[in-house]
Point group: C2
């Protein structure tokens, strides 16, 4: 077994870019998953994400937009209308994200057991 390198994480490490840090906040992952099925309106997102305050949802969406995962579109309809949808980058992120969710489901019981004791 070889020794660990001293500079392994001197620069910004790729793992610091994991989804919930990429987005910048704890809700980013859920927001992304809510956008899997196509563009969604703000009020539509508030349904599955009812536990997020409007402030945090906006903040999360803005953050995801800044980082290039989500595209915000404003329509000039008579009634105001805004949609959010995944960019190519955002969609590419869904793959590893799903891998994680699958892993969590597969090991759900083990995780709970470990927590118990």
């Amino acid at each position: 077994m070889e020794a660990l390198r001293a500079d392994m994480f001197e620069e910004i490490c790729p793992s610091t870019l994991l989804p919930f840090k990429v987005g910048g906040d704890k809700w980013a992952g859920m927001v992304l998953r809510c956008l899997e099925g196509g563009p969604r309106r703000y009020s539509e997102l508030r349904v599955p994400l009812a536990r997020i305050s409007p402030k945090m949802l906006t903040q999360s969406l803005r953050s995801l937009e800044r980082d290039g995962f989500v595209r915000r579109t404003e329509y000039a309809d008579p009634a105001r209308r805004v949609t959010y949808e995944l960019t190519g980058l955002g969609r590419s992120l869904l793959e590893p994200l799903r891998a994680f969710c699958d892993w969590a489901e597969d090991h759900w019981d083990e995780l709970l057991d470990a927590r118990e004791s």
Copy 2:
């Protein structure tokens, strides 16, 4: 496109268990990756993780131990000796974790570009 379910995230969502939340703190992922190669001593971990204060490293390790990802072993050597190593659960987590790191490396330039603008 079907409507989003209202109860999608009512219970604790699997995605909230993502690696950096599973561990509980921002360093957990890096710690896990440092343990890929086998058992490591505390002081050994401090080398690649030089930016983490001893307090945070301990806290992170304790958290990973509680959650069943890491096993702490104390030896009764004359000189004090403690090692940390991945459990089966911990090793299983490395897979999706690596998937993420790979993704981050693959999209590194895009990520930086998005950040710029």
